[in-house]
Each structure stands twice: as structure tokens, then as C-alpha cells.
């Protein structure tokens, strides 16, 4: 099947780039016309009638429990499962040796150089590389029994030295993979900044930042249920964001035709990137189910999730930024050591940090070097934002550093350097194409909504009067790549069928984990066709119903999947007119030709099935935003009080304002968690230090700051729908704004994420001691 819509785009080196000129003209809907839909999903979810993987009642189903390494790094000497096998109710206990001649390997997200040489076995074979790594699996009549068995497995490991920090691991003589460097990839973006640029600059500032490891923590941990069918096929129920990739990965592991596997996504209790992969446990459970000929379910528990599920972030960053005396940025250099954990499964993520390095600024010389490094810690893979929050944080903190050095207002400094609207499509020095943006407009709105001048005045007043808690104002501006650039994922499959009775079924390859697709996408098709929304049903997340798809990640669903449905609906109208005969016209579900009017349903009843199916291209787009935080810091207790948080987001045309705001609010609160609370700490011996949700702190409603959301609308010029993505913006914009505000309050730029009371107290103590 050819990809539709490519004729207006360009393809360069496997990337789909926006049109150079003649962009699609999009009508921007009046904000007052926002749909404000009631959610179709809610009827089942508010009554307890939702069906998540753990709720499915499958006769004869067994439960799996994993035995995991308690040692960060070591040689696996022996695994004894005999006591487990003897446990009442246990059906099987397996180690890697029981998995067959070839131990399944965990597929990498995107192949990066070096990943193939450092394979990640589904169960450890002769080495363990992080606490939580699966070593054995026990299957029992239910979860209690399976855990009894898992407790009875004896594991003997000869410890090896731990490597916790990516910078130290890069330089260490201890090798995680014998004979191979711990640095997996060493990527460069843009040309190195010439020495004379640094030398002639009026100002050069340098910042060093640490991105903590975050645990995505959807309320439902990972879950999968494999059901062997009598006809030799396999059904896999799963909580997942990308069912087609999972199907293809499982088929590749089993050496099966993908058609034999039906992946069905049940109701999903949140994903945030952490349910987009094909993980070790999935491969093992599928093999168990097939070998035993019985359904096997794995429900990750929270303790496992904190210990062993893939994490996000984890970077050491160093940024240098040069400017002239007027604050015009001359050069930016970003160095990143990215911690990919024990195996480079998600090593593509930090590449985004490098590719996006310039941010929203028209800096002429930009260079990034990103090393991905293995350490003896849990894997890092995409978590909401996936490389973008890291980039924005590094740049935005350094921009504030520059403003301080120049004695310039940070808003004014940003304003002087923004890529102007007329420069789009804009190619950055790191080779990224930005489609459209009106950054200054977003900044103006954010400053206005925050009452910026008032808070600056209040800050001045407090500084002069003394006594009160110090107050700070922090800004963050960002552009967020939404959708993806690589050709094979810069597209989505969609189909629309009209039944003879007039019912419309829309199918699309995206896959919601809470984002209201059933509501919004059905409405989008209904409005495009001009039929009542109740006539339209959306189907996604079932590979038997939706033969191909990319999924829901990278803020791509509405931008790419919504656009695909929109274009399929427009094509359906054309098809209806073609069938009705020459000179046909179409309005509100009725096609008229030669004095005869027929509904879509009547047309479908009259002949061939009325159906449109296609793969529709949509290149990456660049949503953007301006965030402002106002904080005061209790210098005695080290507690940060966020007095105001303003989030202005431009995600192009918004189909439903409320549902967009749902995404932004949720992401802002995750961003607040990242700024103030969340970190999975490891001790020097490589042991994770948070075992439960009292150790890994998530924001509750009690931590919510007064939040004001604002929007501007700069349509996506490359689709007729005009939408860009918005799922991740809140956790990109919030952390730098909050941290910049705290730095502004305390005047202590060395502070690092998360801003716990301890960290703030350290900063206060440093300030009081005059240490810089």
C-alpha cells in the first residue's frame, strides 16, 4: 500500500520533512466552537465495568512471577528451581536454559550502532547487569502460589563492581560487556563550534546538570495475558501503546507469521511511554503459554515496577552558551552522558536531546555530543517527553544563567533570540526542520497571564525589605517535536467503513491509554462526514481489526492518526460522489446526483462495500510553549512553594479544548513531580533506594499549585487538520520553569533535580556561606 500525502512533502535520508513552500492552508476554528465532548470511555470506567488485563476472566489461566537479581552486577553461577517446582500449586519454574536453544533477546526500540553487540536476554544467562533483572520465572495456579514458588528459587551470583554514574562508567576499566566499551554510541549533531567563536564572545556561561532517573508509574503497572488458541494461533491481551510493533516483535521471536498473533489492547491504566516496548517479561510469558498450552498472565506489581520496569531520563549534561554584549546568542555546545542502564534497549532516546539542541533560539553555531553509556542500573527507555525534557532543561537553565551574567531580564533575553515566524520552515544547525512557530506570541501571553511585572516588583520589594521568604520567577520556552521524522513512523493507517444501515466504523493504528480517542476520533470522523456522532464507532488496539499501525507515543495520535482519519473521511466523501455519478454533490451524509439523493448507508446497501483505507503521511511537527513559574522558598525547611504556574501551549488546531487541557494538566503535574519530588536513587553499590510509593514520591492533589493554562494556535501547515501534538508538553515546560524560579529566588545556580528540601537546604547553606 502506498503512503498517501507524500507528494507535498520531502524525504531526505529516511526522514520525512515538511514542505518547503505552499503549505496547506488550514482554517483555525474559533476557540468558542471547541467541542467540549462528554467522554464515551467513561460509562464503563466510572462503574467498574472497564476491562483491564487483570480483569479478564480466562478459564484455566495461570499466573507468572519473576525471580529477579538482587545484585547489581555479577556472574550468574547457579539457579536452583527445584524447591520452587516442589511448591504446592506451582506448574513450572524456568530459567534461561529452559527457554530453548536460543534465549529470546529483548528487541531494541530503534537500532543504534553498538546495541546489537550488547544483547539483552529475556532471562539472564551468565551475567546480571542490574538489580531487578529477570533470572527465572515461576508459573502457578494463581499469583500467591507463583510468588511462593519464586521465593523458593535459589540464585548464586558472584558479584562484580557496580557502575552507577554514566560519566564514571564511560571512564571505568570495569566492562559490563566483556571486550566492549561501556560507551555504546557516541553521536554528534551539528558542527563543532570553532574556538574563535568562544574567544570573541562577550560572555560565555557554562552549566552542569543532572537528570535524575524517573519511574513512569502509570497507575496500572505492566500487564500481559497470553492465550494459546485451539487453531494454533495466539491471542495476547496487553496494556500497551504500540500493539503492532509488539505483534511483530513477538512473531520475530517465535519465527511466526505475524498473522498468527492477535494483539488486543484491553483498557489500559496509563502508559506515558513505559508501555511502548517489547519487554523481557512479555517474551517469556508468551513462550510459557505456548509451551504449556495454557493461558498465562503476568501482572507486574508496584514493587517490581519500581525496581525493574524501564525508567526515564538519567543524563549528565554540560552546556556552554556564548553571547555578545547585547545578549544575542552566538553558540551553544551540549555534552551529554546518557545512562541507558544495563542494556542499550532504549539508547535512541538521548539522540533526541542532541538533535533538538538549539531549542527555540536562532543560535548560529550549535553542536551536541551525546554518548550513551551502559551502567549497572535498570534500563532507561522512553518516558513522557523522551529526550525533549532533557534538552529543554539543559538549554533553558543555561539561558537563565546567561541572563544573570548579562544582568538582563530573562524574558527579554529570550525574546531577542527566538526564531521569528517568518523564518519557518526553519532548519536548525543540528539538522532539524521546524515547520512553524510564533514563539514570541506565546511568550507575551505567558508573561501577561502570570502578571510578570507584578511578581518582579514583589521580588524587588522582598529583597529590599528582607525578612520574607525569597521569591523567584522562572521561565521556560520550548519547541516539542510531535509525531516522528523517520518515514516508517511519520504516517498512520486508517480505514472508514459504512454499513448498509448507515453505521460508520472508523479504524486507526493509534492506541489510547487514557487519551479519549474513542470520543474525539469518532467525533472528528462524524463532523468531517457531516453525520451524527452516535453513528460513528472507533476501533483501535486490536491487530485483527486494525491490520497495521504505529501506535500512540511521541505526541503523535491526533497529529498523525487524527489526520489520517480526517483524510480518509474526505476520501470517503469523494468515493460516495464518484459512485453517485457525474456532478454529484455531498452534504451531511447525503450524496445527490441527477436529482436523486441517497444517504451513505443507502449507497453502501446498493453495491460494493463503501470503504476507504489508506496509510497517510504526516511529518513531525513542532508544538511549542512558554511557561512561567513563581515560587517562594522556605529557607528554614527547604520547601519550595509554587505560587503560580502558567502554561501557554500552542499545539496547532485543537479539536477539543478540554481534552487538550486534560493532557496538559496531567503532564504539568508529572513535570512538577520531576522538578520537586521524583527520583529513583541508587546507592554507590548500585542498589535502588526506593522500594515503594513512600520512597518514590508522586505529587498528590495537596501539592498542586495554582495553575493557569493559556493557548495560542499556529496550525500545523502540513496537514489539512492543522493539529500538532500535546501529550508531553507539560512535563517539558514545567521542570525548567520551576527550577529557574528557585535559582532566581536563592541565587544559587548549582542546584540539581529534584528540588527536595535537602537539596534546597544545601543551596541555602551554600548561599549563606557565600560559596559559589
Amino acid at each position: 500500500m502506498g503512503v498517501r500525502g507524500m507528494e507535498k512533502l520531502r524525504e531526505v535520508g529516511g526522514f520525512v520533512l515538511p514542505a518547503d513552500s505552499a503549505p496547506v492552508s488550514v482554517r483555525v476554528p474559533d476557540a468558542a466552537a471547541s467541542w467540549r465532548l462528554g467522554r464515551r470511555e467513561d460509562a464503563r470506567l466510572i462503574t467498574g465495568a472497564g476491562r483491564y488485563v487483570g480483569d479478564l476472566d480466562v478459564p484455566g489461566c495461570l499466573d507468572a512471577a519473576f525471580v529477579r537479581s538482587r545484585v547489581p552486577h555479577g556472574r550468574l553461577v547457579a539457579v536452583d528451581t527445584s524447591a520452587a517446582t516442589a511448591t504446592d500449586g506451582v506448574v513450572a519454574a524456568w530459567t534461561a536454559a529452559d527457554l530453548g536453544d536460543e534465549v529470546p533477546l529483548v528487541p531494541v526500540y530503534l537500532a543504534t550502532p553498538g546495541s546489537a553487540h550488547r544483547p539483552c536476554p529475556a532471562l539472564a544467562v551468565d551475567r546480571v547487569r542490574y538489580v531487578g533483572e529477570p533470572i527465572a520465572v515461576v508459573v502457578g495456579a494463581d499469583r500467591y502460589v507463583a510468588e511462593d514458588g519464586a521465593d523458593a528459587v535459589r540464585v548464586d551470583i558472584d558479584p562484580l563492581p557496580a557502575l552507577v554514574d554514566p560519566g564514571e562508567a564511560a571512564a571505568s576499566a570495569v566492562q559490563l560487556f566483556d571486550g566492549l566499551d561501556n560507551v555504546v554510541t557516541d553521536m554528534e549533531f551539528g558542527d563543532p563550534v570553532p574556538d574563535e567563536v568562544w574567544q570573541r564572545a562577550a560572555v560565555v556561561v557554562e552549566g552542569v546538570y543532572r537528570q535524575p532517573r524517573l519511574v513512569p508509574t502509570p497507575m496500572e503497572p505492566r500487564a500481559l495475558l497470553a492465550v494459546p488458541e485451539e487453531d494454533g494461533r495466539l491471542t495476547v491481551w496487553v496494556s500497551h501503546q504500540a500493539p503492532h510493533r509488539l505483534r511483530d516483535d513477538l512473531a520475530a521471536d517465535l519465527k511466526w507469521d505475524p498473522e498468527r498473533i492477535r494483539v488486543r489492547v484491553a483498557d489500559s491504566g496509563g502508559g506515558f511511554g513505559s508501555k511502548s516496548g517489547t519487554y523481557a517479561e512479555y517474551l517469556v510469558v508468551v513462550r510459557l503459554a505456548l509451551r504449556l498450552g495454557r493461558p498465562v498472565r503476568w501482572l507486574e506489581d508496584r514493587a517490581e515496577s519500581l525496581l525493574a520496569s524501564p525508567q526515564g531520563r538519567g543524563q549528565n549534561q554540560r552546556v556552554r552558551l556564548a553571547a555578545d554584549a547585547d545578549g544575542r546568542m552566538l553558540a551553544l555546545d551540549l555534552e551529554v552522558d546518557a545512562d541507558v542502564g544495563g542494556y542499550p534497549v532504549g539508547a535512541f532516546v538521548p539522540g533526541e536531546t542532541g538533535r533538538a539542541a538549539a531549542g527555540v533560539y536562532r543560535t548560529p553555531d550549535v553542536h551536541a555530543r551525546v554518548r550513551t553509556v551502559v551502567t549497572t542500573t535498570a534500563l532507561t527507555t522512553p518516558y513522557r517527553g523522551a529526550g525533549r525534557p532533557e534538552q529543554v532543561y539543559a538549554v533553558e537553565r543555561t539561558v537563565d544563567l546567561l541572563a544573570r551574567r548579562l544582568g538582563m531580564d530573562p524574558a527579554e533575553l529570550r525574546r531577542r533570540n527566538l526564531v521569528p515566524p517568518e523564518a519557518f520552515p526553519y532548519e536548525s544547525p543540528t539538522g532539524r526542520w521546524f515547520d512553524s512557530g510564533r514563539y514570541e506570541q506565546a511568550l507575551d501571553l505567558a508573561l501577561e497571564l502570570a502578571d510578570y511585572a507584578h511578581w518582579r516588583e514583589e521580588q524587588r520589594r522582598r529583597r529590599e525589605a528582607g525578612g520574607a521568604w525569597p521569591l523567584g520567577v522562572g521561565l521556560c520556552m520550548f519547541a516539542e517535536r510531535s509525531g516522528l521524522e523517520q518515514k516508517e513512523v511519520a504516517q498512520e493507517w486508517a480505514a472508514i467503513d459504512v454499513a448498509p444501515g448507515g453505521g460508520v466504523v472508523a479504524r486507526v493504528g493509534t492506541c489510547a491509554t487514557g487519551q479519549s480517542h474513542e470520543t474525539v476520533f469518532a467525533e472528528l470522523v462524524a463532523r468531517t462526514l457531516g453525520v451524527p456522532a452516535r453513528q460513528v464507532t472507533l476501533v483501535e488496539g486490536d491487530t485483527a481489526e486494525v491490520p497495521q499501525g504505529v501506535g500512540t507515543y511521541g505526541s503523535r495520535s491526533t497529529q498523525v492518526g487524527g489526520s489520517a482519519l480526517h483524510r480518509a473521511a474526505l476520501e470517503l466523501i469523494e468515493e460516495a460522489k464518484r459512485r453517485a455519478g457525474p456532478g454529484a454533490s455531498y452534504a451531511n451524509g447525503v450524496v445527490t446526483a441527477g436529482g436523486r439523493s441517497r444517504t451513505l448507508g443507502e449507497l453502501a446497501a446498493a453495491g460494493e462495500p463503501l470503504r476507504v483505507e489508506g496509510v497517510y503521511a504526516a511529518p513531525a511537527a513542532y508544538a511549542f510553549g512558554a511557561y512561567v513559574a513563581v515560587v517562594e522558598v522556605d529557607t528554614e525547611l527547604g520547601v519550595v512553594h509554587v505560587l503560580r504556574l502558567v502554561a501557554v501551549d500552542d499545539c496547532g488546531v485543537r479539536l477539543d479544548d478540554e481534552i487538550v487541557e486534560d493532557q496538559v494538566r496531567g503532564a504539568v503535574v508529572q513535570g512538577l513531580g520531576q522538578a520537586l519530588y521524583e527520583v529513583m536513587p541508587y546507592d554507590d553499590e548500585g542498589r535502588p533506594q526506593a522500594a515503594d510509593l513512600l520512597g518514590y514520591l508522586l505529587p498528590t492533589i495537596g501539592e498542586l499549585p495554582p495553575l493557569t493554562l493559556g493557548s495560542t494556535v499556529t496550525p500545523n501547515p502540513n496537514t489539512a487538520l492543522g493539529a500538532k501534538g500535546t501529550g508531553e508538553a507539560g512535563c517539558i515546560g514545567t521542570p525548567p520553569a520551576v527550577v529557574n524560579a528557585v535559582v532566581d529566588a536563592l541565587g544559587e545556580p548549582g542546584i540539581q533535580l529534584p528540588l527536595t528540601p535537602e537539596e534546597c537546604r544545601r543551596a541555602v547553606a551554600g548561599r549563606e556561606a557565600g560559596v559559589r
Binding site: 462503574t47 487514557g514 503535574v669 498528590t700
Partner: protein
Amino acid sequence: MSAGVPIRLTVNGTAYDVTVEPRRNLADVLRGACGLTGTKLGCEHGVCGSCTVLVDGEGVRSCLMLAVQAAGRDIRTVEGLAADGRLHPFQEAMSAEHGLQCGFCTAGFVMLVVGALDADPSVARDPERLDALLSSNLCRCTGYEGIRRAVLRAYGG
């Protein structure tokens, strides 16, 4: 595996005669033997509140109560809230105010709020008490604002 104990659980007015091991928690027995899967397990260590049910009218984290402790007591779960085919006003309010996205924490929040506010609606008029109550549970999708608005909508804050 230890021997099962026969108990009677009264859930949403219906008696369930079940035989359970003493170590099994109430959430697992509600979801398993009783087939009432509306109650969700989000952490199994009493922090997230997704498994909140009412026992004798009080909100309880059903992952922290053993099923045998609940024998003979009056248990209410999300499945028992609708009456005469009508949703509880707070369920309707949660939907109207976008108090949920993925829905996994929803039953816990609904039971927490219904248990506390049906007994004392004045909580809705006291922002501090309301925040203290809602801080009992975790949601990772919504950013909570819709849940707060839903309380005010249903209980007239």
C-alpha cells in the same frame, strides 16, 4: 498453601460464601472469588488508594485488609453505587468534569469521596479538608483538578 477458611462476605448487599486462605487480602478476594473486578490494585502497599472500598461505611484500602477480617461486615464497591439504574451523582460528576482519563484510579477515588462526603458533605466546602481527603489517593493522568471539580459539582461546594 495453607488451608482455606469458609467466610461470608456481604458485598453491595449480596452474600458471597467463599473459602479463602487467611493470607488473602480483601481486594484479591473481591476481584477473584467474588468476580468484582471494578476494584483495582495499584500498589498493594496501601499508598495509592486505587483499591479503596467501603467497609461498614468507612473507606478502607482493600489491599491492606485481609478478606477474613471483612467477614460479616458490610462491604461496598464501585459496582454497588448505581441505584435503580441511576449512577451515583459523584460518578456522573467525575465524567462531566473530566476527573478521569485511563480510569484505573477512578473506583478508588469514587469510593473515597462517596464514603467521606455522603457522610459529611460539608467537606466539599472546606478546601483544606477536601485537599486532605483527596490527597489520600494517587492519580497519574489528570493532574487532579477534574476530580476536585467533580466533588464540588456533586456535593455543591
